[in-house]
């Protein structure tokens, strides 16, 4: 199960934080900082997986952004690694060559994209076509 999803830039600014379990605000802040510290020290020769407290982080870096998913230790690493990529490809289509600023100015839409693809800590929909079709429909609504 996904415990949280984080998008951070290299400086540690959070571009998206989606929580699937209860944390209080201080704990969330601490987690954000810890994840940043753990992930940014790793280079391309490292795996895309890091043990993290009693969970693990599956992450991938796109330009200056780190997309991190925190999951249970027994979860399938590669499936979540590709779930990240699938999500990024959807963002890329949706925002036409997505960049960090798109996520800043449209933060409330990013949440919609996340909810289409992940819900309750599980993968909800994996078809890019289906997700984009739904997003297009929502976009057309007032």
């Amino acid at each position: 199960m996904i415990r949280f999803v984080l998008i951070q830039n290299r400086a540690g600014k959070t571009r998206l934080a989606k929580w699937y379990m209860q944390f209080d605000d201080d704990e969330k802040q601490k987690l954000i900082e810890e994840v940043h510290a753990v992930v940014t020290v790793r280079d391309a020769k490292h795996t895309n997986f890091v043990e993290f407290r009693s969970f693990k982080i599956i992450y991938r870096r796109y330009a200056g952004l780190y997309f991190c998913i925190c999951v249970d230790v027994a979860d399938n690493n590669l499936a979540y690694l590709e779930a990240i990529h699938n999500f990024v490809e959807v963002l890329n289509e949706y925002f036409h060559n997505v960049c960090e600023l798109d996520l800043v100015f449209n933060f409330y839409k990013v949440y919609t994209v996340v909810d289409e693809m992940f819900l309750a800590g599980e993968i909800r929909e994996t078809s890019q076509t289906k997700v984009l079709k739904q997003l297009l429909l929502l976009q057309s609504l007032d």
């Binding site: 590709e82 819900l119 739904q134 297009l136």
Partner: protein, 963 residues
């Protein structure tokens, strides 16, 4: 495709975000935010009613401010208002605000739930999804109460849109996880399971997460999902890469759904239905085959998606652990990955192989990769990969490759990352012990460990090496020589000094023949480290010194000089000072014999599970380890092995007890003796030796033989006595046969330790006893019920007379050497009036007194039960209840027996099961007990199983009299 411009629709928001981004400093940002907050507050409070757009815009700004990390204390009401808008964009912002900033404001929750209810009933799929997502994101109990009944209906209704079904399935999952009691599947179960057949792959993808979770909790109710999942999987696996269109990802058909299906199957054992199983095995083979096919794309996404399925399939194969062919194929596949250029794959292969190593079918296949894994340990750049390599080496280690693996791990330790050193040290220590063929190798390994990574060698590790050296006399000389050499290093780790001090103190004599390691050289070597060590180590060294005085009398003056120096005898540390004072005194006043007894070589430690293993298990356990637990682990280790520090202490405690054997200090003494009892019976015998000639009572020989209660008949008495003649002579010398009721009296004490053993008109004998491990101490109280004196009761240590109405006390120290059936006899003779009283009783010492309770889980219990399956290991009796069948009373008696009463172990709650270990000096005997009451027939069936037939038999006899 949709393209979104920056902040389209809400210009004000885009401007505000730009402003914030342009702020040069944190102060400027806060200023801008405060300005905006004031603005929004005034808008919300203003007389003019805000239109939906403005409301949406301001709520969205508030949300942005909150996400920047600032507190937001208003706007909740406006957000809730947005929920009832009929415009999607407004509703969406309202729901988002609620999801992100939810707090359990009960008033608002009611309003929110109301809005959700309306949206769920709206039949507008977009609104329904928004509402469902909100419930899934918040997942509060209030929401579960309001909607747990409604959502299953939406999920299975025929006219529900696919996207709504997806959301409803996961929404229900969330509610089930937070409030399982409120989500009742019942009538929906079958229809939910059949979602696995849904045409829409997205619905299956979402629903399967729900089904997996429900299956884990109620496997029986959901077991029909197995065959459905297998056929779904089979259809995906056999489909061409383009068949599934939208759900094909980089030429891989439905990778996520395949993984989820394989994961669902891991909730169940292999399918019983042959056809289903055949189909599944076919799927797994296809997946393994595909891994060998040339890739359809060079993109990493393709291989990742393909391998995600492969690893999940391998997990399932390992979970079943029943198909040798598949296990070996899986192992070969992973073996290829071990050398793959992708770090991710090497990591995952190592991780997955670790579990394969524990299967009997694939253990050998895993071992063939040892060289690759060792190479990974040496060359991988990512520490987490090296860690996995170390894990795998540990998992694949057996007698055949232990030396190689331990050597490699040791050499890796020299450069290992700090983060994994402690764990590596534990692993090396465990492997070295587990697979030691010759113990000199073991000693070398552990000393190397201390030399290379001394800081990471926990107490458990060095306790353990000492324990093993003490227990194995074939290695003691070697150990002494090796530590002596290791201590030559100018800088050696304190742990090395501890081990060295302990071992030389015990076995230094074994190397003292060599002039290069003569007693004085040994002492000087140890003492040269003394001042660099911490207090506990110094304390240990002082104990080693006093042991030296015993081993090598020629070192006495030198050592006494050291002990007498101000830095010892006036040391500011109480522990050190006390030791110096006591050891100095002991060495000056005790005779050689006493010294030799007090400072006798440590007896062997009882064998038990390695404390290091327990520590590793804890380390590997999920989650951060609470400190208290760790501490406990240390204490446990300490108790088990008893560091030198404690030991010295207890010795002096024992010695001081010996000089003042008043009842109260005796009791205290017993307690401190008991604490060290776990380390070995030495203190027990030490105490006894100082006390009296009687010594620890050899139970098998019976107390009366020891003669400490022997009647001394004064000649005058006897000459007056009529009994002097003929047979009387021998009568007065010999003990009377045991009283007829002595067996019955004995049975009274099987389940209790204190009480009245015997009573007649003249005499009452009370008993108090305590047991620890294979040692016990019993207090006998002889009460004179008459008003006249009993004369010439006995010699020492009891006063030779008992005043009328008074009581004298006798202490018996007991050591259980081996298991026994006959209780020792107690013979009492005294004169009352002119008549010689001669009573022989059975001392209430029964084998169960030496029980150590053992807690275990149901599975372990029955596993051990099955292991003890030889006919002679079992003793069984079926007998009538003679004391009623009160459950509480039964429990009390079973607990009094001394073993652990295990709850929730026997499938039949009426039955009682117990487990314990009988501790004797010679061996430990594990015992399992099962008592099955039959209330109707008022009968019991009692079954005992233990590793020793005599023990089973004796316990069964004893217990049958108790119920």
């Amino acid at each position: 495709m949709p393209a979104v411009s920056k902040g389209d629709g809400m210009r004000g928001l885009a401007v505000f975000i730009s402003d914030i981004r342009n702020c040069k400093s944190k102060e400027a940002e806060i200023k801008r935010i405060n300005k905006e907050l004031a603005n929004i507050r005034s808008k919300f409070k203003g007389d003019k009613a805000l239109d939906g757009y403005s409301k949406k815009k301001y709520v969205c700004k508030l949300l942005f401010i909150f996400l920047l990390g600032h507190d937001i204390d208003f706007g909740h009401m406006e957000a809730v208002n947005l929920l009832s808008s009929n415009k999607y964009t407004e509703k969406q912002i309202g729901y988002l605000f609620i999801s992100v900033l939810v707090n359990s404001n009960s008033e608002l929750i009611r309003l929110i739930n109301n809005a959700i209810k309306n949206d769920l009933a709206s039949r507008n799929p977009t609104f329904m999804c928004l509402a469902l997502h909100c419930i899934a994101n918040v997942g509060s109990r209030e929401m579960a109460e309001a909607f747990a009944g409604e959502i299953p209906r939406i999920l299975v209704a025929g006219d529900t849109m696919d996207s709504v079904k997806q959301s409803a399935a996961l929404c229900l999952l969330r509610l089930y996880k937070t409030s399982p009691d409120l989500v009742v599947m019942g009538e929906w179960t079958s229809r939910v399971v059949h979602l696995l057949n849904d045409q829409h792959m997205g619905v299956v993808t979402a629903a399967i997460s729900l089904i997996t979770c429900l299956s884990q909790k109620n496997p029986d109710e959901f077991k029909t999902c197995v065959s459905l999942a297998v056929s779904r999987l089979s259809r995906i696996v056999s489909s061409a890469s383009t068949d599934l269109q939208d759900y094909t990802y980089y030429f891989v058909p439905a990778p996520w759904l395949s993984c989820k299906l394989l994961r669902l199957l891991q909730c169940y054992p292999p399918p019983e239905d042959g056809a289903v199983k055949g189909r599944l095995v076919e799927c797994l083979e296809t997946i393994l085959n595909k891994a060998q096919e040339p890739p359809k794309s060079k993109k990493v996404q393709h291989s990742n998606a393909k391998n995600a399925i492969l690893f999940e399939a391998i997990s399932l194969i390992i979970h079943y652990d029943s198909e040798p062919n598949l296990l070996v194929r899986a192992c070969n596949q992973l073996g290829q990955f071990l050398q793959h250029r992708e770090t991710n794959l090497r990591y995952l292969a190592l991780e997955s192989m670790c579990t394969l190593a524990s299967s009997e079918f694939s253990h050998e296949a895993v071992k063939t990769h040892i060289e690759t894994v060792i190479n990974a340990l040496k060359t991988e750049r990512d520490v987490s990969v090296r860690q996995r390599a170390a894990d795998l080496l540990y998992a694949m280690c057996d007698r055949s490759n232990a030396k190689q693996i331990v050597a490699e791990m040791l050499s890796y330790l020299e450069t290992a990352d700090y983060s994994i050193r402690e764990e590596m040290v534990l692993k090396v220590a465990i492997l070295a012990e587990k697979y030691a063929v010759d113990y000199s190798w073991y000693v070398d390994t552990i000393l190397n460990l201390i030399r290379i990574a001394g800081d990471y060698v926990s107490e458990e590790v060095w306790y353990r090496v000492i324990q093993i050296v003490i227990n194995r006399d074939d290695v003691q000389g070697y150990a002494a020589k090796t530590v002596f050499e290791a201590l030559q290093a100018p800088a050696c780790h304190e742990n090395m000094v501890k081990v060295g001090g302990y071992i030389l103190g015990e076995f230094g004599n074994l190397i003292a023949g060599d002039p290069r390691s003569s007693p004085l050289v040994q002492f000087n070597l140890l003492h040269s480290k003394f001042h660099l060590c911490s207090v506990p180590t110094r304390a240990l060294l002082l104990s080693a010194y006093i042991k030296f005085i015993n081993l090598f009398p020629e070192t006495k003056p030198t050592i006494q000089e050291v002990l007498r120096s101000d830095s010892q005898i006036r040391n500011s540390d109480v522990e050190l000072q006390q030791r110096a004072v006591e050891y100095l005194k002991l060495s000056s006043i005790a005779s050689t014999d006493v010294l030799a007894t007090v400072l006798e070589e440590m007896p062997p430690f009882p064998e038990r599970e390695s404390s290091i293993l327990a520590k590793l298990k804890k380390k590997k356990g999920p989650g951060a380890l609470p400190v208290s637990e760790l501490e406990e682990g240390k204490r446990e280790g300490g108790g088990e092995l008893n560091g030198g520090a404690d030991r010295g202490n207890d010795m002096s405690a024992a010695a001081s007890n010996a000089s003042t054997p008043s009842p109260s200090t005796d009791l205290l003494g017993l307690r401190s003796a008991a604490a060290i009892g776990s380390a070995g019976p030495s203190t027990g015998s030490l105490l006894v030796d100082v006390f009296s000639e009687a010594g620890p009572t050899a139970l098998s020989s019976g107390v009366n033989d020891e003669g400490f209660l022997r009647d001394l008949e004064p000649p005058t008495e006897s000459s007056d006595s009529l009994l002097i003649e003929a047979p009387g002579e021998s009568d007065s010398e010999d003990s009377a046969p045991p009283l007829p009721e002595s067996d019955e009296l004995l049975n009274k004490f099987v389940c209790k330790n204190n009480g009245v053993l015997f009573e007649n008109q003249l005499l009452q004998i009370g008993i108090k006893s305590e047991y620890r491990q294979n040692l016990g101490r019993m207090y006998l109280f002889y009460g004179n019920k008459t008003s006249v004196q009993f004369l010439n009761v006995q010699t020492k240590p009891v006063e030779p007379l008992v005043e009328g109405g008074a009581q004298v006390q006798q202490v018996i120290n007991i050591e259980c050497l081996t298991d026994f059936s006959e209780a020792p006899l107690l013979n009492i003779k005294f004169r009352y009036g002119g008549a010689l009283q001669n009573i022989t009783l059975k001392l209430p010492v029964t084998i169960n007194k030496f029980f150590q309770p053992t807690e275990m889980a149901s599975q372990d219990f029955f596993q051990r039960w099955k292991q003890l399956n030889l006919p002679q290991q079992e003793a069984q009796k079926i007998f009538k209840a003679s004391h009623g069948m009160d459950i509480e009373l039964l429990k009390t008696k079973l607990l009094g027996l001394g073993c652990a009463l295990l709850e929730n172990v026997d499938p039949n709650p009426e039955n009682f099961v117990c487990a314990g270990v009988i501790q004797t000096k010679a061996q430990q005997v594990g015992c399992l007990l099962r008592l099955e009451p039959n209330a109707q027939a008022q009968m019991y069936r009692l079954t005992l199983r233990s590793s020793k037939d005599t023990v089973s038999k004796r316990l069964c006899e004893l217990l049958a009299e108790q119920f």
